[in-house]
Structures are given as structure tokens and as C-alpha cells.
Symmetry: C2
Subunit: 333 residues, 2 copies
């Protein structure tokens, strides 16, 4: 489900535009993930960091600060902060989801144990907190503290919404706004704040990050059912097996006839899943056109992200951010 | 292993001295542990909060601020912050230790699941972070961010030091300074800082909290082997079963003859434990007098805590804090 990094894609252009800053962010991440006394910490962290995520969130912070004309040093710390928070949540997510693979590697909870993932996640979260304190900006601290609470709340909500067929689209939106969009929104917002951008610009950056994050997560959830192509790839079906209520299923449950309802109750509520059930689920989703509808929603959120940039100053980086919105949904086009 | 709350004990006097403030702290804790959308959060939190801990850490913050003449409002927020951090670490500790009982009740990981404990812990940690941002003091934020990192580092160090007979007293001190003393030290220090106390006073408060926390944890670890009375009570032997290297064992391993060494290798390193092994361990600890020596170390740290208060202004609360130091070790007298 990785983004295509080849050619002249927006992600590549974003990487090139913030490459010098990003080198410094990587250096800071390496420096701060160290622990003099507990070598387990950098071992676990490096396993995840070296696997190389897309680094989309820290790049958003750097781009937001730069396009607002920032010339200082704190955007480097904030980008590292955002990546540390992201890494900490991945470690805890993999414990919660009992995942075995992440970024093409076995997860830390599998290679070490759940204990290490919980505690190293806590350590990275604390480190992120130290980094943001170093910026000396209470406004930035406020934004990131609120984002952290929203992320955790979204994760707990997801936990209680799973396996519950009563989960509706409002709850779904709240879950993904928490677990995904809150950090995207904070990442772009703090870039503007640290640059001293005026309120309207900061708001535009925040709305951009929020809509981009929502679009990103809807696409992820759609790809978990193979996208609209109905091809069952190797990563397809994780959400189904974990009995998560994501948008394509929520829409299908809403329109289920008696027989379909019984199917969803069996596989999602009771968790009695057999061979052929994923194929059956895909057939139902397709019958009601909910994969296509989900794709349309992702496109709508990408449009909103683009539109939010109307409040942001004209800049080459603004154009790249606009293209990033299209790029995120291009995975399902 | 609870503190005796009866009679005119120092803990009771401390409670009475900060009772009005503490009521407000409790109110703030109830208010902030709420979550509009994820009811699982207050359920899990209330399970732990209602069980009623000693609330020693938030009381220390209140007392430190008051004895420095503080008349503002922020000490209430800081006391709630400290209790939230403590509660978050308890939730994660119980997952890591696979504990089944806490404060006389089944643990949250047992009643709900590990997932809820991890995520609700993250939520409480974020909430603590929001509360401290509200004080507007970057100095306080710096202290608490550092404490959070030290706590997590101590926990990871404990994880890797467990089952390893090479663990020495330096490593042990580092572990308990992290997992226990760091929050005690931050609790008293931020009380002084928010009150605007001068540097020497703040340093004295910090050293007091550090030494008190170390003493407190050494006593806990000693009581886990029944104290010096060698009585095997119902809570005795948890650390032994979890193969943790605590001070009485570290001292005994250091002086082990060949046969004793083989015993420790079997029960701690390889974890092959049978009926009678705990009794055998106690006999060895007693033979080398390491329970008595551990008690002496706890008393020494309590003395250091008391001495650190020499830098703190004369005040009825200062005298109570001094008695709290004796009180913490009185559990093994």
C-alpha cells in the first residue's frame, strides 16, 4: 500500500524541495532516539525508522513552515516531533492490532515483545514532548498536546467501535480524524505557527492537513478491500479479519437485506470467518457500489484539502502540497 | 503493602494539610478523565482512580507549592498532571508485568484487555500534557518532559535488566530512579517552580523528591521479600516470580558461592522455579544479611530526603514532609 515514489510524482517533488531540512530532521531523530543506558530503545526504534516510512508528516511540517517564509531552526525540531509521535503510535498500534508486519518487516512486538513496544513507544512520545518544549512556543505545545489527546481518543473509539455493526459514518469519521487526521492537521498547523503566519493562513494549513489526513485514511481503508479494482492482493483483508468497521462496510451494512445482515453479524460481530468469506464480502460491497462511493468520498476530501490552500500564500511549495492531495487519492485511481 | 493511614501518621497530617486543594485536584481529575466520544476511557480510568491510591505524589506537589508561599491556581493543575502521569504508567506497567491485581482489584488489562490499558494510558498521558501546558510555564514543561523520558527509560532498562544476573547496584539505582524517583522529584520540584521559589529551594525540593522516591522503591522491593521479618505474606514473591533483580537479590548474587550461584541461575536466568524456591531464596538472603542491608540503604535515602529539606524555608508543611520520609521507611521498621 506504499505510495509510488517513482518519476516526477508530487511526493518526490516534495522530498526534493525539503531535502536539506529533512537531512537535519533525520540527524535529529537519530540523535534523540538514542538512550545511553537502555540500548533496547534505539534497537527497536531503528528497526522501524530504518525500514523507511514515507516521512510524509514531517515533510508537511517543513513545507508549511517554509512556504510561510520561516527562516529559523525550530521547524526541524517540530518535524522530528511529529515523526516521533507517529512512530510511537505505530509501535502501540501494532501491539493493539497484534500485527505481524509493518513496512515490509516483522513488527517490533513480534521481534522483541509487546512490553518493549509499549515502553519504547512511551519513550518516543516523551522524547517528542522534550523536542517541542525546546521550541519555547506555548502555542505549538497546545496544538500538539491537543493532537496527542485526539489521537488516543480516536484509537480507543476505534477499539470500541470494532465488531459493532451499529457504527455509523459519523463515528467512522471521528475515528479516522483522531487516529490519522489529527497528526496531519497538527503537522501542517505548527509549521505555520512557528513561522508566525497570520491566523487565516494557520487555519488554512490546519484544514488542509485535516482533509488530507481523512482522504489518506479513507484510501487506506479502501485499499484494504483491494480498491475499486476488486483484485485481492497480498495485503487485502486485514481490516475484515480484524472485524473493523470501515467506510465500505458501514455503507454496505446500512443497506443490507436480511441475508446480508446475517452475513455481517456472523463475520464481523461474532467473528466466525471461513474460507470464501472475504470474497463474499467483496461481492456484497460491489453489489451496493460502496467501494466506488468510498472512492468518491476520498476524492471529495482531497478536493477540500486543495481548496483549503486558497488561504495560504502563493508559493512553489503550496502547489506541491496541492498536488500531494491528488497524489494521495491517486492510489485508487 | 499500603501505608498505614490510621492515627496521627504523617501521611494523615499531610492529607489534612492539603485537603482543600486535594478536593479540587480530584474534581479536575474527574473532569479531565472524561471523554465525550469514547466512554471506555473514563470506565478504565475510574476503575483505577476509584480504587484510591495514596495520592502521595499530587500531595507532594501541593505541599511543595504551598510551603513556598504559592497563592495561585496552577498547583492544582500540576498535582492532577502528576497523578495522570502516575495512572498512565500504572496502566502500562500492568500490561508489561502481566499483573492481575492492583490496589486490591483486578487490573484493567484483566477486566478489559491489554489494548484498552495501552490506549487509555496514552490518553491520560496526553491529558497530563494538556494540563501542564495550561500553566503556561515552559520551565515546568521542561521538568515534566524530562521526567517522562526518564520514567520510560527506567522501565525499558528494568525490562532488559530482568533475568540478567550481571545487573549491579548501579543499574538497580538507575532503574528505580527512573521508574519511581523521577516522578517524585518532578512532583516536588514543579511545586517550587510554580511558586517562583529561588533556585536553591527548588534544588532542595528536587533532591528531597528524588531521595524519597528511591527510599520508597527500595522499601517496596524489600517488602516484596517480606521485609526483614521473613514472614511470607500474601503479596510476597512477585518480583521473584517475575525474575526481577532487586537490591536484596543483587547483593546476594554478588556474594554467592558456587551452589547459590547455580540456584540463582536456575530460578532467575532460566526461570525454572519450583515449590520451595522462594523459601530457599529467603534463606540465602537471610544468610548473607542482605534484607537487613537493604533496609539500611532505605533508611539512608530517607535521611538524605530529610537533609535536602534543609534548603527549604521553615514551614509546618516542611516538617510534615520530613516526617513523610521517616514514614515511608517505617513500613519496614
Amino acid at each position: 500500500m506504499g505510495l509510488d515514489l517513482s518519476g516526477n510524482a508530487p511526493h518526490r517533488r516534495l522530498q526534493e524541495s525539503v531535502a536539506a531540512d529533512m537531512l537535519r530532521v533525520d540527524g535529529l531523530i537519530r540523535e534523540r532516539m538514542a538512550s545511553e543506558h537502555a540500548p533496547r530503545i534505539p534497537e527497536v526504534t531503528a528497526h522501524l525508522v530504518d525500514a523507511g516510512g514515507k516521512r510524509l508528516r514531517p515533510m508537511l511540517t517543513l513545507a508549511a513552515a517554509r512556504l510561510c517564509g520561516y527562516e529559523g531552526e525550530h521547524h526541524i525540531r517540530l518535524a522530528a516531533t511529529v515523526e516521533f509521535i507517529h512512530t510511537a503510535t505505530l509501535l502501540h498500534d501494532d501491539v493493539v492490532d497484534e500485527s505481524e508486519r509493518r513496512r515490509g518487516r516483522p513488527t517490533a512486538n513480534l521481534l522483541w515483545d509487546n512490553k518493549s513496544s509499549v515502553l519504547v513507544g512511551d519513550y518516543l512520545f516523551s522524547r517528542s514532548f522534550q523536542l517541542m518544549v525546546e521550541t519555547g512556543s506555548l502555542h505549538v505545545l497546545d496544538i500538539l498536546a491537543n493532537a496527542a489527546a485526539t489521537i488516543a481518543e480516536g484509537e480507543v473509539l476505534q477499539l470500541t467501535a470494532a465488531r459493532n455493526l451499529a457504527t455509523d459514518e459519523d463515528v467512522y469519521l471521528r475515528v479516522i480524524r483522531g487516529k490519522t487526521a489529527a497528526l496531519f492537521a497538527a503537522a501542517t498547523e505548527v509549521g505555520g505557527v512557528i513561522a508566525g503566519a497570520r491566523q487565516g493562513v494557520v487555519r488554512g494549513l490546519r484544514h488542509y492537513g485535516d482533509a488530507l489526513g481523512i482522504s489518506f485514511q479513507i484510501v487506506d481503508d479502501l485499499l484494504d478491500y483491494g480498491g475499486v479494482s476488486q483484485t485481492i492482493g497480498k495485503n487485502v483483508g486485514d481490516d475484515f479479519r480484524e472485524r473493523k468497521l470501515t467506510l465500505p462496510v458501514i455503507k454496505a451494512v446500512h443497506r443490507a437485506d436480511k441475508k446480508e445482515r446475517a452475513f455481517w453479524e456472523r463475520v464481523i460481530e461474532r467473528g466466525e470467518q471461513h474460507d470464501g468469506d472475504l470474497e463474499e464480502a467483496l461481492e456484497i460491497l460491489n453489489r451496493h457500489g460502496t467501494l466506488e462511493e468510498t472512492r468518491t468520498e476520498a476524492l471529495n476530501w482531497a478536493d477540500r484539502a486543495r481548496a483549503a490552500l486558497g488561504d495560504v500564500p502563493a508559493h512553489a511549495l503550496r502547489d506541491i502540497l496541492a498536488d500531494i492531495a491528488d497524489y494521495v487519492v491517486a492510489r485508487v485511481n
